[in-house]
Amino acid sequence: MRQLSPRAASTAAIALVLALGAAACGPKDSGAASSDGGAPQKGGTLTVLNAKAQTNFDPARLYTSGGGNVPSLVFRTLTTRNREDGAAGSKVVPDLATDTGRPSKDATVWTYTLKSGLKYEDGTAITSADIKYGIERSFASELSGGAPYLRDWLIGAANYQGPYKDKKGLASIETPDAKTIVFHLNKPEGEFPFLATQTQTTPVPQAKDKGAKYELHPLSSGPYKVVKNEGDGERLTLERNKYWSGDDERKAYPDKIDVRSGLDSAVINQRLSASAGTDAAAVTTDTNLGPAELAKVTGDKKLAARVGTGHFGYTNYLAINPKVKPFDNPKVRQAISYAVDRTSVVNAAGGSSLAEAATTVLPTQKSFGYTAYDAFPAGESGNAAKAKELLKEAGYPKGLTVTLTHSNDKDFATSPEIATSLQEALKKAGITVKLQGLETNAYNDTIYNVKSEPGLFLGGWGADWPSGGPFLAPLFDGRQIVKNGYNFNAAQLNDASVNSEIDAINKLTDLDAAAKRWGALDKKIGAQALTVPLFHPVYKRLYGSAIKNVVISDWTGVLDISQVAVK
């Protein structure tokens, strides 16, 4: 179980994951045919049009899923995501290492061996000591930003201050020789290979480390090196790293990559649809099509052919806090579960092309362990009669009034449209819903704090990697309830049987077996009506007319920039 530390990690994390979004690329069978015919060729310049800048472009500071999209062009990691379309893309594959890791019997010790001939952009050799140093420096307070797992899992890491203050380093990471690295964990973690995809396992040579200034020119181990970084990642220019020996995952077709950020999302979509000049060879790694833009694009066949569709493992739900009355009564929670109108909710979220109705907390991909269930069948548009019946049994024959907290963002996820659609559906069941709309920061501070957590709010969760673990553990592990800081266990569930099952699954190194048990656990918790799953979002993004070889994995749900060709 991973303990999400009190820092505001997760929301920021999810946002970052989406922004840096790692998409997988299909290496061998790049069947993902794209725009014009002809095999993808090397050469040309790829333009990336983004809203958010690639801030803190330092492998210690990036919070990525599977190594990120743009970061993965520069930083290689011990393992990485498989760059293939769909479900195949949610697998972990070796990157710098020769395999995805060799666990000890109880999965507390993980050993990796580096491939031969690995070099940095300056021609020097990559060693296992550099990977150890790279991980250690991510513990320095001035280089914060990464996921909390390393600190939670490595022995003796909880209070480690990083190599600048503590020269001895972390004893739980051993490098017996220049090619071998061994991790000692404080508990069994069968999913360590997933963690090893994050940029913190990027090698950083101690001699070249400049602390917080390293981000201006991080030493590349991947196909591209940073030649210019202006405005803290607002404009990033990448050119070929001639010492990159090629790898199994990154195609790296273009010669140059020009990342331009700070653009309005409407501008990005407009420029991609016009595809004029250099914009023809452009993609975005952070901007989805909104409902209105989708409506415009679907009306134009040529444009519609340039839309990449993907599924990132994410679930939007109605979170219920049983510590607040009347939600302590299971019948009230069940009544709400029965009353929701998922057709209206899906429409409010942008329609059936941008959202799929959900009845499970886990996303529908196999890698999460998806097990179909519908604990409180509400049908397409809600079962108001059943809800009323339950309310009567709960002692509210005349209905009741509740408050629903939502954000004021225009994100079609936790926004007012979704809230009002639920308000309407619950009205039919005799539940009067008062809406409490909050601005982004106030919203996050309210819902993720056990002291202020409302009884009913719109929430969502996306995992750090495509598995049931980083979904169910933060949301339902009672030991992860954070009293003084960001808490994601909204139901504040602390059930010994759930906790011990989570521990048991974490011991498994057979990820398929683990997935099945995550699915079963989801179904078991679902029967308690602590969350009402609403929908899984679908990502649709435009790309320029000259873009070839579009690969979209289920890991990231978005186009993988390392596979794209412009010629």
Partner: protein, 338 residues
């Protein structure tokens, strides 16, 4: 009436209408055709606002019910049918994504737009007149203090202050009241300046001096001698403030800090519709057109009132020059006075 006569004799330009010239005022208003049209439009809008529940009931709709079957879910939620789903059941079509009835939302939205703007204007006028009169009638120190405060208020940007306040105040405070209050509390300085200047010029007039000599108190002088004379500029200014307040409310709702869902307001509808201008143009055009028509009609009406109340402008009206004797007379008289 005596004070009004005194004022007229003194030749104060702005006094004619409310006191002795009620009928010339209407006469002058009526001669301006554009004003008549604008007045009819405004009256219609007020009727729509007041009768929103009734009109929605006649249509058989309400502003909050979702109609998921009326939008094309697969293409992003565009209303089915032409012109945004306009039909016998849905007179102005339906909202994309939700399928809520647009006519009902527009009608209910009129209540918010007009109601909030009216309340805000009243608040501005009350505060502005009170501060302006006190400054004009008070001693040197009172005048200095109030005038400096007014100067500061003039410099304060209404939108920025309102944005700040509305973001901070908890959602439990009723939004329409809050918005009206904020606009009222921040936007009174213009009226106050006009009232103070007018008061200062009236103060030295004989009738006010006479009243003072008779031993009247400040409040009595203000009420009986000054307010009637101030009516014209205050009315003129407030009729022009009203459409400006509609715009402020719409802008605040557009920016997401105004009226909260599910209550509809025109500004909020515009904000939701801004990305839909290509996919569902009527969704954007309807609230935009209504806002435009309302503000335009009110501005024309305001201009008309100003013209009718201002003798110099009135003299250029047909009745002020040759058509009617009385009009000509009074017009000339005013002109001479001014």
């Amino acid at each position: 009436m005596s004070e009004a006569l005194l004022v007229q004799e003194a030749g104060a330009a702005t006094t004619a209408a409310p006191a002795s010239g009620a009928s010339p005022f209407w006469q002058r208003l009526r001669t301006q055709r554009a004003v008549l049209v604008a007045a009819v439009v405004v009256a219609l809008l007020v009727l729509i606002a007041l009768g929103a529940p009734l009109l929605a009931a006649i249509e058989g709709q309400d502003p909050t019910t979702y109609h998921p079957k009326l939008v094309d879910s697969a293409t992003g939620g565009v209303p089915l049918g032409s012109f945004g789903g306009i039909s016998a059941e849905h007179w102005l079509g339906v909202e994309p994504l939700t399928g809520r009835d647009l006519f009902a939302r527009v009608a209910y939205g009129a209540r918010v737009s007009l109601g909030v703007a009216l309340a805000a204007t009243v608040a501005q006028v009350v505060i502005g007149v009170a501060v302006g009169l006190s400054a004009g009638l008070g001693n040197r120190y009172v005048d200095q203090a109030l005038s400096r405060i007014t100067d500061v208020m003039v410099a304060l940007p209404v939108m920025v202050i309102a944005l700040g306040v509305l973001t901070v105040v908890p959602a439990s405070v009723p939004r329409p009241v809050l918005i009206a209050g904020v606009i009222g509390l921040v936007g009174w300085a213009g009226i106050s300046k006009i009232v103070r200047a007018q008061t200062l010029s009236l103060k030295s007039r004989d009738h006010v001096a006479a009243a003072r000599l008779s031993g009247w108190g400040g409040v009595q002088i203000a009420r009986r001698e000054l307010l009637p004379a101030l009516a014209a500029p205050v009315i003129t200014y407030s009729v022009l403030l009203f459409p400006a307040d509609i715009v402020v409310e719409a802008a605040l709702s557009f920016l997401g800090v105004g009226i909260k869902p599910p209550t509809p307001s025109w500004g909020q509808m515009l904000s939701d519709a801004d990305t839909w201008y290509q996919a569902a143009p009527t969704y954007l055009l309807i609230p935009a057109a209504l806002l435009f028509v309302t503000v335009f009609a009110l501005t024309v009406l305001g201009e008309g009132v100003r013209t009718a109340l201002d003798p110099r402008a009135a003299s250029r009206l047909p009745i002020g020059t040759s058509r009617k004797k009385s009009g000509k007379k009074s017009g000339k008289k005013k002109e001479a006075g001014a």
